[in-house]
Every structure is written in structure tokens, then in C-alpha cells.
């Protein structure tokens, strides 16, 4: 692999932690150094535990240290999940045997094995989700602690399912562990980059078109569902979006846009901006594996590549993370990708569901209008 300047995406270990820590009855232990523990703890804003192994454990084995940490957790009702980082992963210790008397979940997810999505997927595979045909409702997928929109997405999709009188099955991954083995037969997605693959997919929740298709599928599967209120609300709100964007276009040219993020949100953003604002999407830099879309995506992993693309395309508007914002200070910016810093964000903001599209278009229009004001001749 070629060298990478200022890598923009977390490692597989962080991905595994963001999956497992979403379950309220799992205590996550990062088996590794203090540095490996520190980052996911600050990023995910959730309590994690660590073994903080040192040279001694590398030479003589980490058996004693792991037992010490496990003893410290004894008595808690939560199940313990241990995530191995780079060094423990190559030491060859049989941790499962060491902890034979404990009911632990062991996830081997070292940073060198890949990016955040790899670790998330690996952890979910270890949990081995199962569909229980008796479980009512629809599972909600792609709710990953790493995603700053995940809480907002969950609240919004819960609201829409309730509006359609459809119960919620298991939320992957923000639920109780018991739900993993009793998932519903059907699943809808909020962020395709963190799809669980559990149950039959009924579609996604990014954008009005996807929402309509997904709820049409729900209507076909659930006799008791009443999707009409959702479709009615979606139609009403889409009309508001159309009017707001049309009003903007009466006075301004469509923005030229560079998008940086996970492929799922990036595709949604590009499609939405083209549909309602006739925006010119100059480039899409994907943090992960590019998706098949009408607008070509390119994988971008380091900050220099981001700088080069922005310099090359000279967009009016940049969508991405605070990293992109840092190198595009003189351009419009809308937050789409973690990490999102600088602004205080307390209320859960969605990008999925009806509210998600409204938030997104609202952010883009306000940013474009602000830019227009800034560029207006001064008195």
C-alpha cells in the first residue's frame, strides 16, 4: 500500500468498537495500548474499557492482565466483548482459552486489517445475528456509533415506522444483545456503508424516492401497516423542498459541488443536489469503496488528495468532514461526514428519513445563500 498523508478514516479496531458499544448490555474492552483505547473512547463518546498492555505483557503474555481486567468487571450484568488491536493480534495468544470460564465475545480486529467498515462488519459477524420469523416489525440497519447522524436517523426512522403502525425489530447496532438473535425478517437501511445483511432488505431511507419505495415494500409485506400517512408527509415535505430550491434558483446559479464522505451518504447528497438544485457535482471523493452511481466516485484516503481535488475543481460548495472544512475555508461547507467539529451539535440530526432530507437541503440552501451574501458588493 502506498503511503498516505494525514489518513482520514479510522481503522478496523474502531469499527469493531463502534458496532459492539452500540449494544447497551455489552461492555467493550480494547485489548491493546493506551493509544488504541484513547481514540475510540473520544470519538464514540461512550465508555470503553482497556487492558493498557505494556512491554511486559508483550514479552511474557497478557494472560494475567486480561484476567485482572475481567476480574474488575466481575459482577456487572453486561457481557464482555474483547477487541484485539494490532500487537495482541500477532502474538498468537489463545485468549478464548484463557477466558474459557468467562462468557466473552472475542473480536480479532487489528488496525492493519482494514478500515472502520471492515471492523464493524467483523464484529457483527461474530455476534452472528439470526432472524426469528416470530419477531414482529422491521429491523433498522446502519445505525453505527461512528456516524454522527446515527442517533438522529434512528429517531426519525422510528417515528416514521410508528406513523405507519409498523413495530421496530432489532436496531443494528443500537439495541440489546438479545435482539441480535431475534431479528425481524425484514430490514430497512439508514446508512448502506454499515449494512448488517440481516433479513430481507426492503430498501433505504435516504431521500424521498427511497423512502417511498421502502414504504411501498413495507405495505406489501405487512397487512397491518398503514403507510399512507408517511407517503402523504413525504409528498408534502418534498413539495416544500422543491419550492425552496426553485426560489433559490430564481436568483442564483446552481452551486458547483465537491462531495467527500462514505459512499452511501455521498450518493444521496449528489442525487439530492442534482434533483432539486440542478447542481453540478464536480467530484465525489469516497472514504471507502466507491459505489456504482451515475456520477463517478474516486476513493480518497488522505488529506493531500482532498486538497488536490478541491484545487482542481474549484467548487462553490464542499460537503464533507471538518478535515475538508479545514482546507476549504473560503468556500461554502456543509457537514456530511465524521468527524464533525467546530459547531456545537447537541440535538440529534438525521440524514435519513423525511427529516434527514429536510435538514440536508436546509443546510445546503442556507450555506449557498450565506455565500451569496458574502460575495455581494459591499456598501
Amino acid at each position: 500500500m502506498a503511503e498516505c498523508n494525514n489518513p482520514l478514516w479510522p481503522c478496523a479496531m474502531t469499527g469493531a468498537a463502534s458496532c459492539l458499544a452500540g449494544f447497551e448490555d455489552i461492555t467493550v474492552v480494547i485489548h491493546g495500548s493506551s493509544g488504541c483505547y484513547y481514540y475510540p473512547t473520544t470519538l464514540l463518546h461512550t465508555p470503553l474499557r482497556g487492558t493498557f498492555i505494556m512491554e511486559n505483557e508483550v514479552i511474557f503474555g497478557s494472560d494475567e492482565r486480561i484476567r485482572e481486567v475481567m476480574d474488575g468487571l466481575a459482577g456487572a450484568k453486561n457481557r464482555v466483548a474483547i477487541i484485539t488491536t494490532c500487537v495482541p493480534a500477532i502474538l498468537g495468544e489463545d485468549i478464548q482459552s484463557m477466558l474459557a470460564s468467562h462468557d466473552v465475545i472475542l473480536v480479532d480486529s487489528p488496525g492493519f486489517s482494514g478500515d472502520v467498515e471492515i471492523g464493524y462488519k467483523k464484529a457483527l459477524e461474530i455476534l452472528a445475528p439470526e432472524v426469528n420469523p416470530e419477531t414482529p416489525g422491521v429491523n433498522i440497519d446502519g445505525v453505527c456509533l461512528f456516524d454522527p447522524f446515527s442517533r438522529g436517523n434512528l429517531l426519525e426512522v422510528r417515528r416514521l415506522l410508528q406513523l405507519a403502525s409498523v413495530p421496530v425489530g432489532t436496531v443494528f447496532c443500537a439495541d440489546k444483545l438479545g435482539g441480535v438473535k431475534n431479528a425481524g425478517a425484514y430490514t430497512l437501511g439508514t446508512n448502506g456503508n454499515f449494512a448488517s445483511g440481516v433479513g430481507e432488505s426492503l430498501g433505504g431511507m435516504l431521500g424521498f424516492g427511497a423512502i417511498a419505495e421502502t414504504f411501498a415494500a413495507i405495505d406489501r409485506r405487512f397487512d397491518e401497516a398503514d403507510v399512507e400517512p408517511v407517503l402523504k408527509e413525504a409528498g408534502f415535505e418534498e413539495e416544500r423542498v422543491v419550492r425552496a430550491c426553485d426560489k433559490f434558483l430564481m436568483k442564483a446559479d446552481p452551486p458547483t459541488v465537491a462531495i467527500f464522505g462514505g459512499s452511501s451518504y455521498a450518493a444521496f447528497a449528489a442525487g439530492t443536489l442534482r434533483r432539486y438544485l440542478d447542481a453540478e457535482i464536480l467530484c465525489i471523493g469516497c472514504r471507502n469503496e466507491p459505489a456504482e452511481t451515475s456520477i463517478p466516485m474516486k476513493q480518497v484516503t488522505g488529506l493531500n488528495e482532498v486538497k488536490d481535488l478541491i484545487r482542481l475543481h474549484d467548487p462553490d460548495l464542499v460537503l464533507g468532514s471538518s478535515f475538508e472544512h479545514s482546507v476549504a475555508r473560503n468556500r461554502g461547507f456543509v457537514a456530511l461526514t465524521p468527524p464533525i467539529r467546530e459547531n456545537v451539535r447537541l440535538a440529534p440530526r438525521a440524514i435519513a428519513g423525511i427529516a434527514g432530507t429536510l435538514f440536508f437541503v436546509e443546510d445546503v440552501l442556507n450555506e449557498c445563500m450565506d455565500a451569496k451574501k458574502k460575495n455581494a458588493p459591499k456598501d
Partner: protein, 358 residues
């Protein structure tokens, strides 16, 4: 919090690793790049952490780090060739020097980083041992980086003339060693130290290392006195003393009496009379304390359990202002790092007054 040493007695703490400590220094050499030899995640974690901290501190400069991006292939077959290729690539980018930092996994698989760095790349390439848990704590990483860079100071000088211009007999300044670059009030603390030095007409020779350029790093050996940011940097102070013969003061001034003593110590080190500077500072402290007479006698309770360091300055303030400690007192903040100098105490007292009147 980052200076905490790893404690095996608990499993839930906040603290950085050796790599983070070293990066906090090397990324402040603005015309150099830092290569982290390991998986991308280690570099991302630190880049993201520094980005967040810099934003919080209103610093918009992004650290420049490269990762060798090791995958399972290099972990199995060795990563030295990947490091060499990365160094070939980054040294073509026009940087004035390259710092190479190791990671836990690289030390575990036994890559010989020094051998790879010893090749001629056309610019100084400085290896720094920073293997996470193998190396120790955040503080160890910082100390390792400062010592490794100081050890190679000779590589950074450009001309004989520059060296002569900064030879010890021509220099009357001090070096500031190991500023906490991730600290929120790092510039304010530096300003307080320079205010005290100005009182003695002593200039700063070098900030080692903060917003530095490679060409300035060789000046580390040319000061008459080193002032360490705090006592944890004592190994660096000793290293510099041994290498360049420069004496050192173990920390920034802390508390009221500590500030007076700091002035005396610096004056003594330079062999000058510090009486006037001491008298002016004492007068300033008295005026400052008089300005807080409205909170005299108030009952307070510390928000956090006092440490040995915080006890020293807080006891002194309590004594001067006649405050009382009590369980029913107003909760006041007690910073982990002691306030620096008299102005640091003043800022703390403003916060205490807000808490007491609130």
C-alpha cells in the same frame, strides 16, 4: 490528562500514548514532515485528535503526517521496504527534514527503522522511538522526541556563519523546553514566562519545540539556560545539560511564591541582580490580591481532589485570601496543571470569584 502514566490498576482512563506525545513535538516543526511507520489507523487517530485539539485552541494549522500504511502483508513479511519507499517519496516533496516515528506493531515485528533512516535521502531523517506501550507514556514519547531531535541538532545548521552567530558566548537567551502544544492556554503561559524574563532583560533564544522551523533547531545548544515546561521533562533537561552543558530550571513558575523564586533562579543562573524584578512582581501580586478582597473569608470546595502539585498553589491562595475549605463551600475549579506565574493565579481567581458569587 495526557501526561498520566499508564496504570494497570484500572481499565478505564483518559490518556495518550508515546506516539501522541512525540507527534505533539514533531508536528510543530512546520517545514518538516512526520512519517508514522505503522497501519494507517495509528496516524488517523492522532491526526484526528490533533485536528480537534487545534480547532479547540483556535489554531488552524493542520499537522503534516504521513503513514506508511502497513497492512497484514507487511506485518507478516516486514515493513522496512515500505518505509524506505515512503521516505523516498516524502523526501522528494521539499520538506526540510523528516521525523520517523515507530508504532507498537512495528517494534513487535522488529523492523530496523534506524537502518532504513541511515540511508542518504538528501535531508535529515531522524528516527524517534515511539512504540506505543513498548515505549511508555505520552510523556515518554515527548521526551524521546525532544532528545532525539536535540541529539541531531548539528544536522540542522545551514552555514558556519549561522552557527557562529548563535554560539553560546554570543547568546544571552533561554530556551523554553517542551511546551505543552496540546494545552489550551499554551500561548498565554508562554507570554507569562516571557513577561517575567523581560523583567530581567533576558530574551528567548528558542522555543523547543513550538511553531519551529528546521533551520532554527540547531540553536538548542546555544542558550545559557533551559527552562523546562514541567518536572516531567527532567530527562530532557539532563540530556541537554550533558550534551551542551546548559543548566536548567525544572519547570515554569507556579503559584505566587513560586513565581518570585523563578525570577530569583533565572537571575542567579545569569549572574545578574534580580532584586528590582522581584520587588516589582511582589508589588504586582499584592495589588492583584487586594483586587480579590471581596472573596476573602469565603468557604470553598474543590471540584476535584487536590494533587500534590495543586495543593502547593491552592494552599498558598487560601492563606493569602483567608479562604476556608469546607464541604458546604462553593465548588471552585482546581486545574490539573498549576497556573503559570502571577497572571495564571489571577485568571484562576477570576474563575473562583465567578463560582463564589454564582
Amino acid at each position: 490528562m495526557m501526561t498520566l502514566r499508564p496504570s494497570l490498576s484500572n481499565s478505564c482512563r483518559q490518556g495518550g500514548c508515546t506516539l501522541t506525545g512525540a507527534l505533539s513535538a514533531t508536528t510543530h516543526v512546520r517545514d518538516a514532515v512526520t512519517v508514522v511507520h505503522g497501519p494507517k489507523g495509528c496516524t488517523h487517530h492522532n491526526f484526528s485528535l490533533f485536528h480537534a485539539t487545534n480547532l479547540d485552541n483556535d489554531e488552524l494549522i493542520l499537522p503534516d503526517m504521513f503513514s506508511t500504511g502497513l497492512t497484514d502483508t507487511e506485518i507478516i513479511f516486514g515493513g522496512e521496504e515500505t518505509l524506505r519507499q515512503t521516505l523516498d517519496s516524502v523526501t522528494r516533496g521539499g520538506s526540510a527534514a523528516v521525523f520517523v516515528l515507530s508504532t507498537c506493531i512495528v517494534d513487535t515485528i522488529g523492523d530496523d527503522i534506524h537502518a532504513v533512516c541511515d540511508r542518504d535521502y538528501g535531508v535529515p531523517v531522524i528516527p524517534i522511538p515511539t512504540a506505543g506501550f513498548l515505549g511508555g507514556s505520552f510523556q515518554d514519547g515527548l521526551n524521546n522526541a525532544l532528545c532525539a531531535i536535540a541529539d541531531k541538532a548539528g544536522l540542522f545548521s545551514r552555514t558556519e556563519k549561522e552557527v557562529v552567530a548563535f554560539c553560546p558566548e554570543n547568546c544571552n537567551g533561554v530556551n523554553i523546553i517542551g511546551e505543552k502544544n496540546l494545552e489550551f492556554e499554551v500561548e498565554e503561559n508562554y507570554a507569562e514566562v516571557t513577561r517575567l524574563l523581560d523583567g530581567l532583560s533576558i530574551p528567548v533564544n528558542s522555543r523547543f519545540i513550538r511553531n519551529s522551523a528546521v533551520k532554527d533547531l540547531f540553536r538548542i545548544g546555544t542558550a545559557r539556560l533551559n527552562i523546562l515546561r514541567d518536572e516531567e521533562l527532567r530527562p530532557v533537561g539532563e540530556f541537554l545539560k550533558k550534551k551542551f552543558g546548559t543548566p536548567y530550571i525544572v519547570s515554569y513558575p507556579s503559584g505566587l511564591e513560586g513565581t518570585i523564586q523563578f525570577i530569583r533562579n533565572v537571575a542567579d543562573a545569569f549572574g545578574i541582580a534580580g532584586g528590582h524584578a522581584v520587588a516589582r512582581e511582589q508589588e504586582m501580586q499584592e495589588e492583584m490580591l487586594a483586587g480579590f478582597s471581596d472573596i476573602s473569608g469565603a468557604e470553598i470546595l474543590f471540584e476535584t481532589t487536590p494533587t500534590r502539585e495543586s495543593r502547593l498553589y491552592s494552599d498558598e491562595i487560601i492563606l493569602h485570601l483567608g479562604l476556608r475549605l469546607g464541604n458546604r463551600g462553593c465548588r471552585v475549579p482546581l486545574p490539573f496543571s498549576p497556573p503559570v506565574g502571577s497572571t495564571g493565579v489571577r485568571r484562576l481567581l477570576h474563575r473562583w470569584r465567578c463560582a463564589i458569587h454564582g
